[in-house]
Symmetry: C2
Subunit: 237 residues, 2 copies
C-alpha cells in the first residue's frame, strides 16, 4: 500500500461527521499521541475538553504545546497542577534522577515511570467530567507503552473502565481508541486528520530543542521515519 | 450482650500482635472512621503511613485533627494539596453552595458529594505507596456510605482493588476492613483500640465547634448514643 493509498483509506474512515453534542474530556499531555486523540475525538463530532496536568515534569515544554494545540482548535482548556514528584519519585520529576538515553527498553527506561500517573490523571479527569456533565473520558494509551507502563496495559484499562463507570454512577465511559495500535498507526491517523505536529512535544529532557536521544525522542523519530514524513520539530542532533 | 461483653470480645480479637514489618498507607481525613483505621492497622502490627488531602474542604479543621492523631501516635505524616473544588464543584468546597442540614438522606446530602473524591485519593495514595514500597493502601469506606457515595460501594471497591494491584505491577493491595460494617461497629472497635476521638473532627461546617445539625454530625452523635458513650468533642447545640 502506498502512502497515498493509506491516507485515502484513513480519510474515508475519518471524514468529519455531524456534531454529536457529546462532551469528551481528553487527557492531553502535549505529545503526539494525546494531541492526535484530541483531533480524533473532535473529528467524531464530540465537544472536546482537554485536561492537562503539570505534575512537576522536567519537560514542561509539553504544557506549552498542549496549550498551543487548544488555542489553535479553539478548545476550552483545563490545566491542573499536582505535585506528583513530591508524592512519588521519578526521573521525570526529580532533578537528582537523570533521564536515561538510548532505546526505550525496559531496564533503562524504568526510572521514567511516574508511579500510578495514569490512574491519578484518569481519576482527576473523571472528577472534571462528572462536574461538566461529560459522557466520556479518553486517553491515548497505545500498544507501544504496554511493556514498561503497567497503567497503559489492556488489563488495567479494562478495570479502570469499570471503576470510572461505577464511581460516576454509570455516567462516564472511558475511551481508549489507540489501545491496540502503535505510534506509527497513530501518526498515520493524525496525518489524515491534519494534526499540526509542529505544536507537539515529546522529549523528556527540558531543553530548548528536543534531544533526539531519549527513549521518547527515538520512538517519535522512528514513527515519522516509518510513515515516511518529516518530523516538523527541530532536534539538537 | 452488654457493652462490657462487646468490649471484651473485641479486645480478644484486637489484641496487638508483633510487628509485621509491612508498610500500609492509610487515607486519613481526620474523621472518626479513618482515625479508627489508623489505630486498627497499627494494632495489626503494620507500619502506618497516613496520607491526608487538603482538597479545599470548608471543614479544614479535620486536617488539624489528622495531624494531631499522627503526632500522638508518632507516625510519619504525608499531606497533599489538591484543588478538587476547582476541578469539580461540591458544597464541601464551594462557598456558593450551602451545606445542607438535616438527616443524611440521599436528596439533601447529594450536594456534599465531591465527584470521584475517593478515586482521586486512592490513586494518589497508591502512587505514594509505590514510592515508599508499601504493600497496602487502606481506606475506611463503610456500609453507611453506600447509598449516596458511589465511590464507597463494594462494586467500586472491588474494581479499584484490581486496578491498584495491576497499576502497581502486583505490589500494592487495597484494604477496606470496614467495608461491611457501620459507624456504630467502627466506634466499638475504636473503643477497644483506645482511639482518642477528642482528636477527630466530623462536622462539614467550618465552625469553631461542631454544628450538631449537618448529616455527618448527626450520624456521629447517633453512633455515640448507640454505643452508649459520650462524644468527647463539643457541639454548638
Amino acid at each position: 500500500m502506498t502512502q497515498m493509498e493509506i491516507m485515502t483509506a484513513y480519510k474515508e474512515k475519518m471524514s468529519p461527521i455531524k456534531s454529536t453534542g457529546r462532551k469528551v474530556v481528553v487527557l492531553l499531555s502535549g505529545g503526539m499521541d494525546s494531541t492526535t486523540l484530541v483531533y480524533y475525538m473532535r473529528n467524531l463530532g464530540h465537544e472536546v475538553y482537554p485536561i492537562t496536568f503539570d505534575y512537576g515534569q522536567k519537560h514542561s515544554k509539553e504544557l506549552t504545546s498542549a496549550e498551543r494545540t487548544c488555542k489553535k482548535l479553539e478548545l476550552s482548556y483545563k490545566f491542573v497542577e499536582i505535585g506528583l514528584g513530591d508524592i512519588a519519585p521519578s526521573a521525570l520529576t526529580r532533578i537528582d534522577i537523570k533521564i536515561p538515553h538510548g532505546n526505550y527498553d525496559e531496564e533503562s527506561m524504568k526510572v521514567t515511570v511516574v508511579p500510578n500517573r495514569n490512574m491519578v490523571f484518569l481519576s482527576l479527569a473523571t472528577a472534571y467530567a462528572i462536574g461538566i456533565g461529560a459522557e466520556k473520558v479518553a486517553y491515548a494509551a497505545h500498544s507501544g507503552d504496554h511493556a514498561i507502563y503497567a497503567d497503559c496495559r489492556p488489563a488495567f484499562i479494562d478495570v479502570m473502565k469499570e471503576a470510572i463507570y461505577l464511581c460516576s454512577d454509570d455516567e462516564v465511559v472511558l475511551n481508549t481508541p489507540f489501545e491496540f495500535i502503535d505510534k506509527v498507526e497513530i501518526l498515520k491517523i493524525g496525518q489524515t486528520l491534519g494534526v499540526d505536529y509542529s505544536l507537539t512535544w515529546s522529549c523528556y529532557e527540558g531543553g530548548e530543542l528536543a534531544c533526539g536521544r531519549c527513549g521518547t525522542c527515538r520512538e517519535r523519530l522512528e514513527a515519522f521515519e516509518k510513515v515516511g514524513i518529516e518530523d516538523p520539530i527541530s532536534y539538537k542532533e
